[in-house]
């Protein structure tokens, strides 16, 4: 529960952990599903944990175990896994201006998922420089550990959990759209930005509805960016013009 603008701040890593808590609502149910599907596809608990720990990219992990289970060629499985994750290339450069010099950043990039990027893109610019690496460490570590723990739970007792609390898997993932809407609303600073962001949200939603979840994020972001460049709308009077931060 972060209140932006508090003068007395706790340690950066603790703030990162606290602010990443909403991510757990989305991570744990999906990770449980992954653990369950992975073991059903013939992977052991240790192998499932290795995949979650090392690859650590939700959609591509589902694809990886699915393709292996269906007997697809290994080179194609690896290529498709990487193709799904290509969207991550734009994340780190967007954060780079706010990353103070540290030899730890390269290691921390393993934790740069879609959700951690969304959170960091919003928060890093608001934090004092000395707290940023701690904040990112705390947020990324909590997300990573929750993903691994959820995968373990899914692999060991996924069927029991989903049958015992069927609503849990349906309600908790709403934490992700709730968090993203809070992160994106402050960026509706002009009609142009509002139009482009709305296009991006709508295309992402549409892609998921028609089953194009994997390509949905890059496609929707590209449509939104094209809209930003192509559509010129009269600007509303406002404090900002929608630049970064």
């Amino acid at each position: 529960m972060s209140d932006i603008g508090i003068s007395r701040r706790p340690h950066g890593w603790l703030m990162g952990v606290r602010e990443a808590v909403p991510l757990l609502g989305g991570y744990i149910p999906v990770a449980i599903s992954f653990g369950l599907i992975s073991t059903q596809a013939g992977f052991s608990t240790a192998e499932t944990l290795a995949i979650s720990t090392l690859i650590y990219a939700g959609a591509s992990q589902f694809l990886f175990v699915g393709m292996v289970a269906s007997g697809s060629p290994l080179w194609l499985t690896v290529a498709m896994t990487l193709l799904i994750n290509v969207r991550h290339v734009v994340y780190a450069p967007n954060l780079a201006p706010w990353l103070p010099k540290s030899r730890w950043w390269p290691w921390l990039m393993h934790g740069l998922t879609d959700q951690v990027f969304a959170l960091a893109h919003n928060r890093l610019s608001q934090l004092p420089e000395h707290q940023r690496i701690g904040w990112f460490f705390g947020a990324a570590m909590l997300a990573w550990i929750s993903w691994i723990a959820g995968s373990l739970l899914g692999a060991v007792g996924g069927e029991w959990v989903t049958s015992r609390w069927p609503l849990l898997g349906e309600v908790m993932p709403f934490a992700l759209p709730a968090l993203f809407v809070v992160l994106i609303v402050p960026r509706f600073t002009s009609r142009r930005w509002a139009a482009a962001l709305s296009v991006s949200v709508a295309v992402g939603l549409l892609c998921t509805l028609i089953g194009l979840t994997n390509i949905g994020i890059p496609l929707a972001a590209t449509c939104g960016a094209l809209c930003f460049y192509m559509v010129r709308l009269p600007e509303m009077a406002g404090p900002g013009k929608g630049g970064r931060a």
Partner: protein, 115 residues
Amino acid sequence: MSVELWVGMIVAALGTYLIRLLPLLWMQRRLTRSNAEGNVDALPKWLVILGPMMIAAVLGVSLVPRTPDIAGWLATLVGLGVTLVVWRRTRSLGWPVVAGVLTFGIVVIVARGVA
């Protein structure tokens, strides 16, 4: 997993890590060069635009409820409304999410009970 499969998994993991890491090293080098040349706006414009668009896209993808029936969509709409109202009042990250998830859960339970 066979040895071959382990190698494949490690290649996929390493590739994913490099996809996240290499653009950072490229941008850090670019920023260092720009600072040395006195250029304060080193981030390409397209990248400034693409960042928020990616977040909006992730929002769009995550909006579809796990069970996309009337109760699920109604809960999504009401949950988002409550999230926004609480955000306007608190301007925080945590409370709007808690309020949104609770509302989503209540609406799903009530709507399914009524149906």
